[in-house]
Symmetry: C2
Subunit: 198 residues, 2 copies
């Protein structure tokens, strides 16, 4: 059985958990407390040299890291990652955009408020501005389609859902973004119907 090393409070880890749950992939969850330093123990770093969560350990002991690489690996040969190369590339562009232009602002602002206990007005103004811009990019895209990279739900939606649905915990207001809010509900319903507990 595979092992998922994760912190249940981390959206990056939830991406992997939701994917495994929905695709009925059996796994053992190994709880890692990032704030307590669990990602920097010699044992953890020997498996995952980036010293980050989530981590995936296969039954034979081989290890992989980086949330979006993990969901791509777990969802291979399923409808969540269609086989067509162009469709895969459309998914990939959103996965990379999420890690470069979304997570560093939306997730980091949430971390600062929820885990470091800061107020919204103590957030880095540049991160706030770039987070707002990311939400606007998503709203524009979703105003013309139901999901990010295909006509149906894919791992691009999993990757973007994780931190967008809790963006308010980082001080972001989703109320001006009607298409984005509708997409969140659509994704949550889809995951719920796949047996995922959010």
């Amino acid at each position: 059985m595979i092992k998922i090393y994760g912190d249940i409070a981390s959206g990056n880890c939830l991406k992997v958990k939701w994917t495994a749950d929905a695709l009925r992939i059996p796994y053992q969850w190994i709880a890692i407390d990032v704030l307590a330093g669990d990602t920097h123990t010699p044992d953890y770093v020997s498996r995952f040299p980036f010293a980050q969560v989530p981590g995936l350990e296969l039954a034979d002991g081989r290890c992989l890291a980086q949330s979006n690489a993990l969901i791509r690996y777990l969802a291979r040969d399923t409808p969540w990652l269609p086989a067509d190369p162009f469709q895969q590339a459309q998914i990939d562009q959103w996965l990379f955009w999420e890690q470069y232009s979304h997570e560093p602002y939306i997730a980091v602002c949430r971390f600062v408020m929820r885990y470091l206990g800061k107020h919204a007005n103590e957030r880095d103004p540049q991160k706030v501005e770039r987070g707002e811009r990311a939400l606007q990019t998503m709203e524009r895209h979703l105003s013309q389609r139901a999901y990010f990279a295909a006509d149906t739900f894919t791992i691009a939606d999993i990757a973007l859902l994780a931190y967008t649905r809790v963006a308010h915990e980082g001080g972001f207001d989703l109320s001006p973004h009607a298409a984005l809010r509708a997409w969140i509900t659509r994704c949550e319903t889809h995951l719920h119907n796949q047996g995922v507990t959010l």
Copy 2:
């Protein structure tokens, strides 16, 4: 023929150019001047809503963005992206790590010095520290193997080479990193042998 929209000074764009050159994929290069605002014209944004370089336009007009998604697409079914799912996931983890933990520090410090004309001591200290950490992670990994994600050169090496080989332009000193310097030379030789002009 495909079109590559790129700025020749951008490492992210060079990844795509080098991949197409080495794999003998014919293309038309469309020069985009980021500093002059070319990525924000209505025409460009209609193709590439992220308003970034590089961009790839297929012969039928369909467009894709995000450098690492583009090299993954161009290198499919070649030795630079082996078919084995675990090997692909190993490549993917380095592609995502590059965009999250390397490019935002190594490339951004270079941009600040080379394009904004700042001195090394005017760089953001947090970006410098994280850039140094990225170089250390690479050095540790390369001290035990020749390439990042396989026994041979893959797109993980292309992605990491682009900004690492010019890290000194961002004030980073590669002289303490012997394995990293040897890997740069190894990659440059490999690309040269494939007919790529660096």
